[in-house]
């Protein structure tokens, strides 16, 4: 039997290293090619498995106009009550731990830093309804480490409570104090329970979501419906929308415009 000295130079001669290189390369090419072939030849899904509801309201840039002249304290309280009820927002009682998506502030708190002495008496006492402004350049979205809050294509700044880790960076970043944290279990504090919307758990942040769940079903936000026309909601990008019409007729101010967050809740004063 004995060993046979390989001379060298024959086509069939191949040393171990070269063989392994060739084998490895062929395996990779084979796998990739085979995988692609399976993909191409496999029966594909021709129909989508899920899609938006046909009646959903869509927009390029949702915005809200608050008409202070039409708003009064009773209407405002109705809007707040509706919003908090249809979203199971708890009534904690303790102002240090309260959760509020929409609430009333006097002018000097809604617009801090603006001089008070000579504005109309009307504004000093007027109830200003404040909520998340769904900014076009939201700092809360910029700081969220998990994209648990993000800006949708239609402009709404959404919350995904399934992903929120409760770090509260967004609360620090919001220049308007619009966000609330669940310091404990909220369920015992939900006065009027609304079975169609979930509650939240302790440990996550929440805020107004422009009633995204209602928009998806073709309905206006709850506060807008309850406001008797004091709140106007629509697509800023659509020149025919109600909100654009209102801006052609009235002057509106925004909260803290100098910070560049570009809030989309406007106040007609």
């Amino acid at each position: 039997m004995g060993g046979r000295k390989t001379g060298g130079g024959e086509v069939t001669d191949i040393n171990r290293r070269k063989f392994l290189k060739l084998a490895g390369a062929s395996t990779i090419v084979g796998l990739l090619g085979g995988w692609k072939a399976v993909e191409l030849l496999a029966p594909g899904e021709l129909d989508a498995k899920y899609l938006p509801k046909p009646e959903a309201l869509t927009a390029k840039r949702w915005a809200m106009a608050v008409d202070i002249k039409k708003m009064n304290e009773d209407t405002a309280k109705k809007c707040i009550e509706v919003c908090h009820r249809i979203h199971n927002v708890p009534d904690i009682g303790d102002p240090r731990r309260e959760i509020k998506w929409i609430w009333l502030e006097p002018f000097k708190n809604a617009f801090p830093g603006q001089p008070q002495e000579h504005i109309a008496e009307r504004l000093k006492e007027e109830p200003f309804i404040v909520l998340c402004n769904h900014c076009d350049n939201p700092p809360c979205v910029r700081v969220c480490p998990t994209k648990a809050t993000w800006k949708r294509e239609d402009g709404i700044v959404m919350m995904d409570q399934h992903r929120c880790i409760g770090c509260r960076f967004c609360m620090a970043a919001c220049p308007f104090g619009s966000r609330s944290f669940n310091w404990g279990d909220p369920r015992p504090f939900i006065k009027k329970r609304y079975p169609e919307y979930p509650t939240r758990e302790k440990g996550v942040v929440e805020k107004c979501n422009f009633c995204a769940e209602r928009l998806a079903k073709g309905l206006m936000p709850g506060c807008v419906e309850a406001s008797d026309g004091a709140l106007v909601f629509g697509d800023l990008a659509d020149p025919k929308s109600e909100v654009r019409r209102v801006f052609r007729q009235h002057f509106a101010i925004k909260r803290k415009p100098h910070l560049g967050t570009n809030p989309q809740v406007y106040y007609i004063v």
């Binding site: 770090c167 620090a172 220049p175 440990g203």
Partner: protein, 385 residues
């Protein structure tokens, strides 16, 4: 080398057991916090970050200060510091561990912690903070252990440690700069929206870290046979001196900008901290103690006679540590949140459970520090004989 941590005299084990007891108390209370929610703390809708995040901020500074020992030794051939780089690196390990723990216990949903990695968000400073801090922990653990082991075996450390050490030098200030960026990039909080936040963090860190290192070195010299060295302590003292002076200057620079420009949004926070607003002024005595204390410490430490006497030096260092802790640990966070963005005041004070949980985490850090220092000191003692 770990076996060195398992043998020790009564005082060592007494320390370990005391720390374990504190950890136990903190742990049990933390379980309660997990069950009930963060409402057991003093935080509120307006002051949504509190004691835990404040400790984290302070400890990132301590962790970064390891560079103050490593840089002169490796970049400028100041061989004297070679004796104590291990102390700096192990202090960094203990400090960063505490940082990670403080973040963890502050989260509303800690079980979802890995969402930061599962859904990476490069535009979020917190994402980068998590990465750089964990990497820094790893780097220091590896460097410290490897170099110590090499020293023990009287052999040069492996070649790959050197580039890692060089990496740790810019990495150290980076972790603290990123932490400062958590605050200084937020548009709505006038107290934090200042470019000097990062430099102020660094100056405070490089004053408090080496100060702590000096105190630890004195403790080591007193209780073990390893002497970190008089020259080393004196050089560290000079670093503390200049950094605390710079820290005071940075605070005064801020005060100038805020009060000369007279912008209400920026002034209100300083007014709350140092004078109180509308009867709310829980932090006023603390802030004045901190500021005056820093000035006193600067003056004391700048006098060579006081700095050279190790007893008065220790007092000065303790003053630096306490005052910088008040500045970062109490003033920074609360000052940013009060008044709130709607000009309302909600004060903050940690609750007893919150304080005990915090103490528990500090105990974890000190336990890690004790174990690592026991190992390092035992190795040094072994080499000496």
């Amino acid at each position: 080398m770990f076996e060195k941590a398992l043998v020790g005299d009564r005082r060592y084990w007494g320390l370990v057991i005391a720390l374990l007891a504190m950890i136990g108390v903190g742990f049990v209370l933390y379980l309660w916090q997990l069950k009930v929610g963060l409402k057991i703390t003093g935080m509120s809708r307006d002051v949504s970050w509190g004691f835990y995040i404040a400790q984290f901020t302070y400890l990132v500074g301590i962790a970064a200060s390891a560079v103050m020992v490593v840089l002169p030794c490796y970049l400028h051939d100041y061989k004297a510091f070679g004796r104590i780089t291990i102390l700096g690196e192990f202090l960094a390990v203990a400090a960063v561990s505490m940082c990670g723990l403080f973040i963890f216990i502050d989260l509303g949903k800690p079980v979802r912690m890995f969402n930061i990695l599962l859904h990476p968000t490069p535009n979020s400073v917190m994402f980068w903070d998590m990465i750089v801090l964990n990497m820094y922990l790893l780097i220091n653990m590896v460097i410290g252990w490897t170099v110590l082991e090499a020293e023990r075996n009287a052999a040069p450390p492996p070649k790959w440690v050197k580039p890692l050490i060089y990496l740790s030098i810019p990495w150290a200030p980076t972790i603290h700069i990123v932490t400062a960026f958590l605050y200084s990039g937020i548009p709505g909080r006038g107290f934090w929206l200042t470019a000097i936040m990062a430099p102020r963090f660094l100056s405070s860190a490089f004053a408090s870290g080496p100060a702590l290192l000096i105190l630890l070195a004195l403790v080591i010299r007193r209780f073990t046979r390893f002497d970190p060295g008089r020259e080393q302590i004196q050089t560290l003292a000079k670093i503390v001196t200049y950094c605390i002076i710079i820290n005071v200057l940075f605070i005064l620079f801020e005060v100038f900008t805020v009060f000369y420009s007279q912008i209400p949004e920026h002034m209100h926070h300083f007014e709350y901290l140092f004078f109180g607003i509308e009867g709310h002024g829980k932090l006023v005595p603390w802030m004045w103690f901190s500021l005056i204390g820093m000035v006193v410490a600067s003056v004391l430490l700048v006098i060579p006679r006081i700095r050279r006497d190790e007893t008065t030096l220790a007092i000065g260092c303790a003053l630096v540590i306490v005052t910088t802790w008040i500045d970062k640990g109490l003033g920074l966070i609360t000052g940013g949140f009060v008044p709130n963005p709607l000009d309302r005041i909600t004060e903050y004070w940690p609750t007893v459970p919150e304080a005990l949980i915090t103490l528990g985490v500090w105990a974890v850090g000190f336990l890690i520090l004790s174990i690592l220092y026991k190992i390092a000191v035992s190795v040094k003692e072994e080499i000496m004989t």
